[in-house]
Assembly symmetry: C2
Homo-oligomer: 335 residues x 2
């Protein structure tokens, strides 16, 4: 079965998104890959705006757009006819279509039929179609960093992308490796690790970050948390498949409970660091934690500073807010 | 989508199994559920024998058989015409068909069409068709034991089933909960945990072992190992979803490397015990390891005795070989 390879430039489809949050995937793509995006396409009633020129499919095609990106949540997970019409129009204008919806666009008969007839690709990035081998744990050449976290949705993708940007600015060889839907649009490829069959979690990551140059870094987007009762299995398979040389812990200091689990508190950062490093040692005995990336957006500047200083003392590691401080201290700390 | 509920009595299909090992699933079923099996059906060239009366489909149907069980590996994972003919004949005689093959029998057009026409069930137990919720980690009533291991294929299912038998003989309430194909045939239901989508590993186990009587034990079949680079994610999700009150560690002292990973040694038993108990504490802070089940079949009797005695001293836990010694000391140790 086929690997994902999404061609840019992108036309960003925002549909009739009821608010900006519904378009957060599109927001992330426009933030990290502004130069891949020719414009945004909004239907009547759309309340989101990702700051790109509004554009018709015909105009986007004329400007070279290769793929319509559906980076928006739709109400009830059902594709309405207005959306289907747009998707078919894009295919007929020569674009591929890539969707992050739970529902597969390839399941809509008119969409599938049009794509097949015109030889265009449909990418349902939440639904891996590729077959993976089981993980082997065999050491690979090149270097790998994995972001891990005290919880889900806590800055793992952002931290990887900020490090990629910083490393490229230094002339270092580095590639962001995407494991979730927004990341896949940003990378143009990747694997939705939480959607692969359980037996192949680590194997899919071994595929995602294969042998490479000795001085090349794969920056692998983490998922979930070893301390999240719903998703820790995904996290552990990701750690083993990554064989990371370096880990970065991501944390949000004001969050009171694990995402989606109101009764579960977050683990202490130091406990979480120890557990992740121990788990990583199975496939890379030299792995170490190189720093902590903290989302301090809920704190005043002074509180953020003192929180980070205290955490540095406690962990002995560089602790930064990637948004306030950048990630150069994390890049400096790479082994 | 539908839950698995396989009706017995079973007719055991051995096909043209080239040797006894190819029929090991059928062997396990006949060992643990002899009274559910009316007979075995062998094609010309079959070199396996699970000790049941040879029987035609017509005779098995006349004796009340409800399901044809395909508990045998076939060459190359392809269904030959002789097998397909037998499956269709069984459906036409009024039997359901349950298969542990990698290839889905429901994918063979004539099989699917016959089952649909006659309203018979096809169970491809390696391929869960049910939809699960994500795990919640919320405490459930009743008690749960999970078998874990230093490696895969090391006695986790056997230990659970032996404990179920021992507990039933004492009049205790206990149910074996199956997480792999052979176990599912033995229980008549269950979930192939390694084949669910990664996000739902712990959720599928929460479904498998729901609220129950306060004095009821679910004996949950473990899979993989926290120290197996291919499958540890499955194991961790299983631990979290089980919320075990008790763990039993399974081990084989002469195995030199992790199954399928020639370069990976087994973890020391005490290290493995500690890691499993720590992982379990996320969803059940009271969980403890109650004993070790050791497969000593490769050792002479005297060596086995001294190995088990030394391991008892080292771990402070009852250490038994379930085959040589039975598992009553493990049942005695339940909290």
């Amino acid at each position: 079965m086929s690997e994902i390879q999404i061609e840019h430039p992108y036309l960003m489809f925002l549909g009739d998104a009821r608010d900006q949050l519904a378009a957060k995937t599109a927001d992330g793509i426009a933030y990290w890959r502004r130069d891949w995006c020719v414009g945004q396409l909004r239907l009547p009633g759309c309340n989101a705006n990702i700051g790109l020129p509004d554009m018709s499919i015909a105009d986007a095609a004329a400007q070279g757009a290769r793929t319509l990106i559906i980076g928006v949540a739709n109400a009830g997970g059902v594709l309405t006819e207005t959306w289907t019409d747009t998707i078919v129009e894009a295919l007929e204008a020569g674009l591929d279509v890539a969707s992050g919806l739970h529902m597969r666009v390839a399941e809509v008969p008119v969409v599938k039929e049009t794509a097949d007839r015109l030889g265009k690709n449909l990418f349902d990035v939440r639904h891996p179609t590729q077959e993976f081998a089981t993980g082997k744990g065999t050491p690979r050449t090149g270097k790998r960093l994995l972001t891990v976290g005290t919880d889900c949705s806590i800055g793992k993708m952002y931290t990887c992308l900020a490090m990629e940007q910083d490393m490229h600015s230094r002339g270092m060889k580095a590639d962001f490796r995407a494991t979730g839907q927004t990341g896949i649009f940003i990378a143009g490829t990747g694997v939705s690790v939480d959607a692969v069959v359980a037996d192949f979690i680590s194997g899919s990551v071994e595929w995602l970050a294969p042998d490479n140059d000795p001085d090349h870094w794969d920056l692998i987007e983490g998922q979930g948390s070893l301390f999240h009762a719903s998703f820790a299995g995904v996290t552990l398979g990701l750690i083993h498949g990554s064989q990371p040389d370096a880990l970065v812990m991501c944390h949000e200091p004001t969050r009171t409970n694990m995402r989606g689990l109101p009764e579960s508190p977050l683990p202490p950062v130091d406990v979480c660091i120890r557990a992740n490093v121990e788990a990583a040692h199975l496939t890379n005995p030299d792995c170490r934690m190189i720093g902590v990336a903290v989302n301090t957006s809920a704190l005043e500047n002074g509180d953020a500073r003192s929180y980070l200083e205290n955490l540095e003392k406690k962990t002995g590691l560089p602790c930064v807010d990637p948004v306030r401080d950048g990630v150069s201290r994390l890049v400096d700390a790479l082994p």
